[in-house]
């Protein structure tokens, strides 16, 4: 070993590195080279690196799913119990007593079709917002793209969604509601729900590292957000153009899209475009905000 005597003429190599692109100099060997430098300001999202860590993403998602039900007595039945009993309660209070209109389909199935994506979103939000803090020991001891953590938290909810979806199929048979061709678009609406959940989850998880208040805010946020989303009522209560503006809440487009695809209720038309736009903005801004805060995670989590 020799002490590094030749001091390079470039003094502030650090400042140049604004975009976190590893620079490989020509005369260096072909071996993979990692350049470690302080990053400043906004940095690239590095989706390529994320792709290289896809197996870790898979294992973490798998761990979340496996662990979640391993010590519960009812196991995966919880994925059904939560939305099902919510549906029962809502049907009694909002369907029976308040007589909220349900666009021509029985209220229970109208409500359940909305609860499905909503529960997915709400669970993803609470799981992902706490994910970084919950993985503190990993973050402090091992390097990997931190994005893997909130993404796996969101993805692990997909299994619950799938289980709860089976109940919906049963209800559709029971109420003799037949899907329309819109059903083909269902995956697109699920994707939109994923994007929205991930976008908000990225923001909240990164914020939670600095401000532990987030932990207390999330349950409120989820509750208020549900009533701001047409889960227990149809968005057709609003006339145009308000219905389209309502789409600024991205979950409005998701929930209404789900109902339309499954039950053939009013199509989401303009609002789905607004919702998709908003949810993309949330996701992209979330990605950049997360990457920007990422360098502080190991020191502060």
């Amino acid at each position: 070993m020799t002490a590094n005597v030749e001091i390079e003429t470039i003094e502030q190599t650090a400042v140049e590195e604004a975009l976190a692109q590893p620079e490989v100099e020509a005369e260096r060997p072909a071996a993979p080279i990692i350049v470690i430098e302080p990053s400043r300001g906004w940095v690239a999202v590095k989706l390529k690196e994320l792709w290289e860590y896809r197996e870790l993403l898979y294992f973490l998602t798998w761990r979340d799913i496996r662990v979640r039900y391993k010590q519960t007595a009812l196991g995966a039945a919880w994925a059904i119990i939560q939305p099902f009993f919510s549906m029962v309660v809502f049907s009694i209070f909002f369907g029976r007593l308040a007589k909220i209109p349900s666009e021509g389909v029985p209220y229970p199935i109208f409500n359940y079709a909305g609860l499905l994506p909503w529960q997915f979103f709400a669970n993803a939000l609470s799981q992902s917002s706490n994910s970084l803090v919950g993985s503190a020991n990993l973050i402090r001891k091992v390097y990997f793209p931190r994005l893997v953590i909130p993404i796996s938290a969101v993805l692990s909810g997909v299994v619950d969604f799938g289980i709860a979806f089976l109940v919906l199929l049963g209800m559709m048979v029971y109420y003799r509601v037949w899907p329309t061709w819109g059903l083909l678009l269902l995956p697109a609406f699920l994707l939109l729900a994923l994007i929205t959940a991930l976008g908000v989850g990225l923001w909240l998880s990164a914020l939670n590292v600095h401000y532990r208040d987030i932990k207390y805010i999330v349950p409120f946020l989820v509750q208020f957000w549900m009533y701001a989303t047409p889960v227990v009522y149809p968005s057709s209560l609003l006339g145009e153009p308000w219905r389209t503006i309502y789409g600024l809440n991205p979950m409005v487009g998701v929930v209404e899209g789900f109902r339309w695809a499954l039950l053939g209720t009013n199509p989401p038309q303009g609002m789905i475009v607004v919702s998709a736009g908003v949810s993309l903005v949330v996701l992209i801004s979330g990605l950049f905000y997360f990457r920007r805060m990422e360098k502080t995670f190991a020191d502060e989590v």
């Binding site: 070993m1 002490a3 590094n4 993979p32 470690i36 532990r212």
Partner: protein, 433 residues
């Protein structure tokens, strides 16, 4: 050019006090009340680093690492030594990309693997098999790679029978063995190791050291942080001594260990920068603070000052003596209760007296270990610095293969010489002493 594995230039890392040792979480309330000063910080941020340098003199920040530059050649095994809070772990964390440097630059040529703790990401509810895959993936192994090494890992950990049992039912020994087995089968070109050898029993530590030696023998580059001077002397080609975040020494292992020992003496009254929940310092062995030289027949009297700053219901304190291979020769433990500890934060001076141990001449290290009430290995474990003990004596180390070499008296009580045709003609009759 191509024989460089790691090049570090002017690497510095600054921590805000409070976020280094014990993190102080900001709340939204803090943010609102401190909105003014926060705004100032935000405004300052985009300014060039010059202004940050001015701020750094402010007591709000500490430099865990300051302007460190060095190069490590491919295949070199470098020991990193220094007191607690000297920046050893920070250096490894930056090189393994866990945390970013504040200034400077490092280039790493090759796949890097870091073992800053064994068992990272183990989940108690999952079985041994599941944890091997999970932990492997976390350490950066591909699934195919784990599939290939799976049997080897299980055999190394000696847990074949329990592979499908959740690890929460494992004994702590099994747990650590499995964790290390996974880590040991990571095949990076550059390996960063931090104190892993401090966990586990003697047999396990020996296995770790053996594996380390193996890795080093394969021509891979290793950076090895340890307090165990004997292990450092044994494994490393060169040594780096860090002092308060600065590179104080770089070079030959023997000189480095010596340098470290002397520097500890000089800085004895300077407390380490990072305040930890538990600190063990003011080590003394027979009145000396480091590197003492004693005769085999000398008794050992070791003392230390233990300070506990956190709530800790109980702990176990050990005084250990290790040989150059890291074998625990002496492990003396006491429960906190027996030391009169009540659970409240405390500072106490503890002394252990031992009769002459008759260790064979050589280099040993004595250190203290405190284990707080915790669930898993590696949790709430605190190590002191080590005091090197050079033992000299009358026995010739070359002819003594055991651990102890007590003063012995040899005699021959009867001897009759056979005149038969013996091929080994030269029997040397030992003289009576």
């Amino acid at each position: 050019m191509s024989d460089i594995a790691i090049r570090v230039e002017h690497l510095s890392k600054r921590y805000r006090i409070g976020s280094a040792g014990r993190p102080r979480y900001e709340t939204l309330y803090d943010k609102i009340t401190g909105a003014g000063s926060h705004l100032l910080n935000k405004l300052r941020r985009p300014l060039p680093p010059q202004s940050e340098k001015i701020r750094s003199s402010h007591s709000e920040f500490i430099w865990a690492l300051k302007d460190v530059s060095f190069e490590v050649r491919r295949g070199e095994v470098v020991g990193i030594i220094g007191r607690n809070g000297a920046g050893k772990s920070t250096l490894l964390k930056i090189l393994s990309r866990i945390t970013e440097p504040t200034e400077g630059r490092a280039e790493v040529y090759g796949r890097i693997g870091s073992l800053l703790e064994v068992g990272t990401g183990f989940h108690p509810e999952l079985t041994g098999r599941e944890n091997i895959y999970l932990n492997g993936a976390i350490l950066g192994m591909k699934k195919a790679e784990i599939d290939r090494k799976f049997d080897e890992i299980v055999a190394f950990a000696e847990i074949e029978k329990f592979i499908d049992t959740p690890v929460k039912f494992y004994s702590s020994g099994m747990y650590v063995r499995l964790a290390f087995a996974v880590a040991a089968h990571l095949d990076p070109e550059i390996l960063l190791v931090d104190e892993v050898l401090a966990v586990g029993d003697a047999a396990f530590q020996k296995k770790c050291l053996g594996k380390m030696g193996e890795v080093a023998g394969e021509g891979r580059t290793v950076l090895f942080v340890s307090h165990n001077m004997a292990a450092i002397s044994n494994l490393c080609n060169s040594v780096m001594v860090l002092e308060s975040g600065c590179l104080a020494f770089l070079g030959n292992t023997v000189q480095g260990v010596q340098f470290y020992a002397t520097s500890i003496l000089a800085n004895l009254d300077n407390p380490a920068h990072v305040k930890q929940d538990v600190s063990i310092n003011h080590l003394r062995v027979n009145g000396m603070t480091q590197l003492i030289t004693i005769h085999q027949a000398t008794g050992i009297e070791a003392s230390c000052q233990v300070s506990i700053h956190a709530e800790m219901p109980h702990f176990q304190l050990y005084c250990l003596i290790q040989d150059e291979m890291g074998n625990n020769l002496v492990v003396l433990g006491k429960a906190s209760r027996e030391l009169g500890y009540t659970g409240a934060p405390v500072t106490m001076v503890i002394k252990v007296e031992m009769p002459p141990l008759w260790l064979k001449p050589g280099l040993y290290s004595l250190f203290w270990k405190l284990i707080g009430g915790g669930l898993y290995p590696g949790h709430r474990r605190f190590l002191s610095e080590a005091v090197s003990i050079h033992v000299f004596g009358d026995t010739d180390p070359a002819t003594t293969h055991g651990i102890l070499a007590p003063k012995s008296k040899w005699s021959v009580s009867s001897m009759s010489i056979h005149e038969v045709s013996s091929i080994n003609a030269h029997h040397r009759a030992p003289k009576e002493t």
